[in-house]
């Protein structure tokens, strides 16, 4: 009897699934809520082409991706984009760029990795296309500095869509209640954290993306940059991990640990968001593209309570604990699709209408679009962008960061002493430089 029942149940499930398949318009809505309809008038290719787009999902990148996919899929061109997280994008980028052919025809790239891929010759230089299509897509309105951020040795390897800078998000209600001001230095950051901790409601007031396998590398670099130095002395090509600044960076990062969840070295940006959504933390420093999620009341009951400021400086008088990352579109050298066509697709997605529509989720690369009226964190972002550390467009930067991140995590959590960590990082750094040749 039992068997009979389960057979029927299974049959029922099958019917339900097939009904769902046919009835509910599966895959019909291409994230329409963030796609803008823009003109995408490429020269129609003679044969049908499928263009695979690799771009991680976040509120700031989605508008550009979705606009491109929705507006440019017509005639003989079909764009495909599968949702993927940031770690997935990093891994797939490495995979698709190795070898003679790859799966993806358009990839999302950012200033951090451009020098490496540019120097390895894996991305197509875009200058001739910018020349050819500049007028048609109004590319001269794109901020020159951002264009430079996606260039290496004078060639442009990525068409900028937006800038992302580290921004401090904090709970205004908590700050007001305790009479606190957003911190401008790490010393103040410790003070306000202590005050919030002492108030007793929130045990770990600060949340930072310090994932040991990646994000903490960016954090360490930001702490170095705040003191005006980088991984490597650009003149002597000597790694600077044993320098006084490196020591300060590590010590200062370590000093924040008592105010953060003990498992902070497993936090990527989405987990920091979770901490803020859940009210477990009252402050977080993340890239600006993650900020708009905090203001949506579908995500959190605290949506109305967040305010934004430029991140603090590590030491008083220094630059911010900041980072500017420019996101853009790149074309892999090994794609089989016509590169002129691909360029038209990416150019259309960063056009004025699309860029305007991406606000407030993004800080688009076009001049003067973000104002206090249209973006809740505009002031913080504009201020942050003025005062970020110098860009460091060197091909070793990404490898330095990924090579040393685990050591930084071990130092910060106290697993190994600072000197020992510095020594290990120096060793890794010298090896990376030796491979540069």
């Amino acid at each position: 009897m039992f068997d009979h029942f389960w057979t029927k149940a299974a049959a029922g499930c099958l019917v339900a699934v097939s009904l769902l398949l046919t009835g509910c318009g599966a895959g019909s809505r291409t994230a329409a809520n963030t796609a803008t309809e823009v003109a995408c008038d490429f020269t129609n290719p003679p044969e049908p082409v499928t263009v695979n787009v690799l771009a991680y999902n976040s509120s700031a990148v989605d508008p550009f991706t979705n606009t491109m996919v929705a507006s440019c899929s017509h005639d003989n061109v079909t764009l495909e984009h599968d949702p993927i997280d940031f770690a997935g994008q990093v891994q797939k980028t490495t995979a698709t760029l190795s070898g003679d052919s790859g799966t993806y025809d358009i990839i999302e790239s950012y200033s951090f990795v451009i020098p490496q891929y540019g120097s390895e010759g894996k991305l197509e230089p875009l200058d001739p296309y910018i020349e050819e299509f500049g007028d048609k897509y109004g590319l001269d309105a794109i901020n020159q500095e951002m264009l430079d951020s996606l260039s290496y040795e004078g060639k442009v390897y990525g068409l900028p869509m937006q800038a992302q800078m580290l921004v401090l998000a904090y709970r205004e209600d908590v700050f007001d209640e305790l009479g606190l001001q957003p911190p401008t230095t790490f010393a103040e950051l410790r003070e306000v954290s202590q005050a919030i901790q002492d108030a007793g409601e929130i045990q770990y007031p600060l949340a930072l993306p310090w994932l040991s396998s990646s994000d903490i590398g960016t954090a360490y670099k930001a702490a170095l940059g705040s003191q005006g130095v980088d991984y490597v002395d650009p003149d002597t090509r000597e790694p600077l991990f044993t320098s006084e600044e490196s020591r300060t960076a590590l010590e200062e990062m370590k000093s924040l640990v008592p105010y953060m969840d003990p498992q902070v070295t497993t936090f990527d940006q989405p987990k920091v968001q979770q901490q803020l959504f859940n009210g477990d933390a009252a402050m977080g420093i993340m890239f600006s593209g993650r900020m708009v999620d905090l203001t949506k009341d579908t995500n959190t009951e605290h949506a109305g309570d967040f305010a934004f400021a430029a991140p603090p400086a590590v030491l008083e008088g220094g630059r911010q604990y900041g980072a500017l990352s420019v996101d853009g579109w790149s074309i892999p050298v090994n794609t089989q699709v016509d590169k002129r066509l691909l360029f038209e697709l990416i150019a259309a997605s960063v056009g004025e209408d699309a860029s305007r529509a991406s606000i407030p989720a993004a800080y688009p690369a076009r001049e003067g679009l973000v104002t206090e009226e249209n973006s809740p964190y505009a002031t913080a972002a504009n201020e942050a962008i003025q005062n970020v550390p110098e860009p460091a467009p060197f091909p070793w930067v990404a490898k330095m960061s990924s090579g040393t991140s685990e050591v930084v995590a071990q130092v910060v959590t106290g697993a190994i002493p600072v000197e020992e960590g510095q020594r290990q990082m120096q060793e890794i750094g010298e090896q990376v430089m030796a491979e540069q040749g």
């Binding site: 299974a10 599966a26 599968d82 949702p83 997280d85 995979a95 989405p270 959504f277 995500n299």
Partner: protein
């Protein structure tokens, strides 16, 4: 038959010794009842613990986005299907689901077609050649997956079959072939050889005999092997993650790339987990009898 039922079977003893038995047994019977209750409680607790992770995922997928991953956790809520609807409409989830099914079905059918004759031959042709093949199968079964999958990645890219369902299915057929023939061989070993001979005397060729006599007898064995192979194909993550990319991506791979997403999409990952798992749980409920019977009649004698 076991601790729990023997307490009952004690009451069915012959009547002539009943009085004596009752007098002697009562305290012991009570002890057994306590054991039965404890056993039942333990089993119930095990069921709850084993089901808890999936239950929590079901709850996360049917809450509002705000409540889904709230801390402290929300236990009472009004269910909503938004996450499922969004998953269905904004992603190509149905394609991944179809890919997963296609891969699992191809794997099952081909693995059985290829494995049946081999398993039959192994069961009827004892000696060092068969033993050698079985040892090889055992070693293949135990190989670290990467030792074969990374070269497959390289080869499939060179041959231009990377990211296709059939390449993935081919890889899975090969990887699971050892288990398939091992399982089926033990089923064949249960069937007496005299049957083969009788059929051969009647003028059947080996293949005809295999098709007309053996396969019908092997019904439960084939079903068991089929279910296991299907589950292997349906669940496989590592091989699929390395051999597929966009067009033939399977659901486990899709879910694994959603772990670092932010809220609305993260909740959709929970919904995807539920949608992927419900059908196989259905299979588990329907197929359990065959799994136990199948394993009983041969598989575990190896």
């Amino acid at each position: 038959m076991s601790t729990l039922t023997t307490a009952d079977s004690g009451t069915a003893r012959p009547l002539d010794a009943a009085a004596e038995v009752v007098a002697r047994r009562l305290p012991r019977g009570r002890r057994r009842t306590t054991a039965a209750v404890l056993g039942g409680l333990f089993l119930a607790a095990t069921c709850v613990i084993m089901f808890a992770p999936f239950l929590w995922t079901i709850m996360a997928s049917t809450k509002t986005t705000r409540e889904a991953f709230a801390n402290p956790p929300v236990f009472l809520y009004e269910p909503t299907a938004t996450a499922f609807v969004d998953l269905w409409q904004t992603t190509d989830f149905y394609l991944y689901l179809i890919n997963t099914l296609v891969v699992a079905v191809i794997t099952t059918v081909v693995a059985l077609l290829v494995g049946l004759p081999c398993a039959y031959a192994l069961s009827r042709f004892p000696g060092y050649v068969s033993a050698g093949l079985l040892i090889l199968a055992l070693v293949f079964r135990a190989l670290p997956r990467f030792a074969v999958v990374l070269p497959m990645y390289d080869i499939s890219r060179a041959l231009g079959v990377y990211d296709t369902t059939y390449a993935l299915a081919a890889a899975l057929i090969a990887i699971n072939q050892p288990f398939t023939i091992w399982l089926l061989r033990n089923f064949f070993a249960e069937i007496p050889r005299e049957l083969d001979e009788a059929a051969m005397v009647d003028g059947c060729t080996r293949l005809q005999m295999l098709r007309k006599v053996m396969i019908p007898l092997m019904g439960p064995g084939i079903l068991t092997a089929g279910i296991f192979t299907f589950l292997f194909g349906f669940q496989e993550y590592l091989t699929a993650a390395i051999l597929t990319d966009t067009t033939s991506k399977t659901v486990p791979v899709f879910i694994a790339t959603q772990l670092g997403q932010t809220l609305p999409m993260l909740q959709q990952a929970a919904a995807a987990t539920v949608l992927l798992t419900i059908p196989v749980i259905g299979i588990a409920f329907v197929a359990q009898k065959y799994l136990v019977a199948g394993l009983n009649s041969g598989a575990v004698k190896g």
